[in-house]
């Protein structure tokens, strides 16, 4: 991967940092009551997210899940409207109608995060069908977790994509837990190995904390898809540092404290920074500056979210249909 231009490598680090700082900020906001409900952070999973999203082109499509902020940020969505959406403001990327779980930014090919586990996998498959029928060369990628890998719609989608050679990547973010449930207790077999039975390559990225490894695997899948080779299932092993969702206090310890520490010890952002500096791509100063820039970006997004107005009451009755608000009968 030494062939990647320096700007691309730095951009990877920038996007990982954006996700980290954005989610740290969001977590704080939840605790302070500045965000209603909860959010699911991608802290710890940045390499997996950015390695995948940066392997896509700007025109490519993506669908996601409840662990939802990293995906659009990784795909290049500006932070202000994302943060405003988390707060429920009119300037939010969905006008305040979606919230954290349902971020979507069609401008960057983000077709929507889904609060329903597994439910957006067929959506990405359909985007790939469009691409195939219209022959426009776009690729689609569906993000989902190890828990979602047990939803039947994944296999219906994989089979259909296999039969039609659709340009789609099924990207399983295996952070080893679904809420309180360890993946190995509810998963029979190995997720990546499920691909073979559906006639497609299955790839397992064991070190999902290395953004380049993820990028490499997903890029190969994207290239294959774009050239007519059909779908790929990519499973990435990773870890979330925080609780399943912010503010969720579970009574039982389903994760070992040492386990978490060992993952924090090989942090994707710290190690990639080291890699960039060691390999001469960037200096320590440049990396410091990057941190400062990103923090400022997040701060600005926060300000934007605070200053923006809430939507007007009647907005609740719009956007149900394209023609008229027939949802309004109360």
């Amino acid at each position: 991967m030494s062939t990647l231009p320096n700007e691309t490598l730095v951009e990877m680090q920038r996007r990982m940092l954006r996700i980290r700082r954005f989610d740290e900020r969001a977590s704080k906001m939840v605790k302070r009551g500045q965000i209603p409900g909860t959010v699911h952070t991608s802290i710890g999973q940045e390499a997996q997210v950015v390695g995948a999203t940066m392997a896509l082109g700007d025109d490519d499509y993506m669908s996601g899940n409840h662990r939802s902020h990293g995906h659009p940020i990784g795909k290049g969505s500006p932070l202000g409207p994302l943060m405003a959406e988390l707060v429920g403001k009119a300037t939010g990327v969905c006008g305040g109608k979606g919230g954290s779980l349902h971020l979507a930014d069609f401008n960057v090919g983000s077709l929507g995060e889904s609060g329903i586990v597994g439910s957006s996998i067929p959506i990405a498959t359909g985007a790939a069908l469009s691409s195939k029928v219209l022959d426009n060369g776009r690729v689609a990628l569906a993000f989902f977790g190890d828990g979602a890998a047990n939803q039947g719609c994944l296999y219906e989608s994989m089979n259909m994509a296999g039969v039609w050679d659709l340009p789609v990547i099924y990207l399983c973010e295996n952070n080893q837990y679904a809420l309180s449930t360890p993946a190995h207790t509810v998963t029979s077999g190995v997720i990546a190995e499920r691909a073979a039975g559906f006639g497609m390559p299955g790839v397992r990225v064991e070190d999902g904390q290395d953004v380049l490894k993820v990028y490499e695997a997903v890029s190969a899948a994207v290239e294959n898809a774009r050239s007519g080779g059909g779908p790929t299932l990519v499973e990435v092993i990773t870890y979330r540092y925080n609780e399943h969702s912010e503010g969720l206090r579970l009574g039982t310890d389903y994760r070992d404290a040492l386990e978490r520490e060992s993952w924090v010890g090989r942090d994707p952002i710290l190690s990639f920074r080291k890699h960039l500096v060691d390999s001469g791509v960037a200096t320590e100063d440049e990396m410091d500056q990057l941190e400062i820039d990103v923090l400022a970006e997040v701060e600005e997004a926060f300000e934007f979210s605070q200053e923006s107005p809430f939507p007007e009451p009647e907005v609740a009755f719009l956007d149900l249909y394209t023609d008229n608000p027939i949802g309004a009968h109360a």
Binding site: Y61, S63, G92, V93, C94, G95, G96, K97, G98, H102, A104, D105, F106, L111, G112, S114, I116, S119, S120, I121, P122, I123, A124, T125, G126, A127, A128, L129, S130, S131, V133, L134, R138, A140, G152, C153, E156, S157, N159, M160, V163, W164, L318, D319, L320, Y321, T322, D323, I326, G327
Partner: protein, 344 residues
Amino acid sequence: MTVMSYLGAIGAAQREAMEADERVIIIGEDVEANVYGTTGAGKSRKDKGDFLEMFGKNRIRNTPISEEGIVGAAAGAAMTGLRPIVDLSYSSFLYMAMDQFVNQVAKNRYMFGGQASMPVVFRSAMFYGLSTGAHHSDRPYPMFMNVPGLKIITPATPSDAKGLLRAAVDSDDPVLTFEACTLWGSKEEVDEAEYRIPLGVARTHREGSDVTVVAISGAVPEAIKAANALAEEGLSVEVLDPRTLVPLDREAIVASVARTGRLVVADPAHRTCGAAAEISALVAEEAFGSLRAPIVRVTTPDTQIPFSPAIEKQLYPDAMKIAAAVRRVCDVPEPAQETALSAR
């Protein structure tokens, strides 16, 4: 004008739409082979599946048996530039894809603040009265009526089928169409040229002054039959078909009851929380002042559908039951002698 069957009209509308817009595709199980007779340019299933010849495999797509995947993929395709018509064959198979219908198809535009548009049509046939048993006899439109974001049409005649389906394909919102198999055989003069019937406009099949019968889907011909027979008994029955259940032509229904003062609703769906309940509740709120009698629903009772031909047909709304309900709200006694209806 030419005589078309109900299925022929559906085929014709699909063909028109396919020819008019390259983004329209048909996907579903066995659509290549024209098994259900509507992907053969409106001809019966005996003919070659010529949609395949006309439009090719890229636009006529046989799917695996994966309803959830199909519906979701159609939604994703609609969000990214295609205008799919999904052939789900039997209405009973829609349940397989319920999550996609409710959580993606109906919600995405709203949830994403208008970013998504969802131009997709889901066709399915309601088989009932044909001894197809409990798994193939459902009339599930009421549960979809409770899901904001979906549009729902239930055409009852060939000309309505052609015009409404064409409007559905043109719509930028998701439309479900429920086609009662009891109507498949019906034939009428239909305009071969392109036309659209706007969603949300009821059709008055027969004017009358004593009572309004709102009839849905397969109940429409039964209501007309009842009205004709009751005319001989001196009752003037207005028969109104909403044609689209969402949006519902509330004004037409309320206006009719305001004139007649009485309402019977004939609805082949199950009774509890059915379309008839909605129409009754609408009138009880908005035309109460005009009402001179209880609102009576003629529906399929809240039982599942038995296979045996000896006991199935009694369950559905038919002309006899509709006539009995009309007599009840008009406070007219049942005729002592056999009538045209009871002799059926």
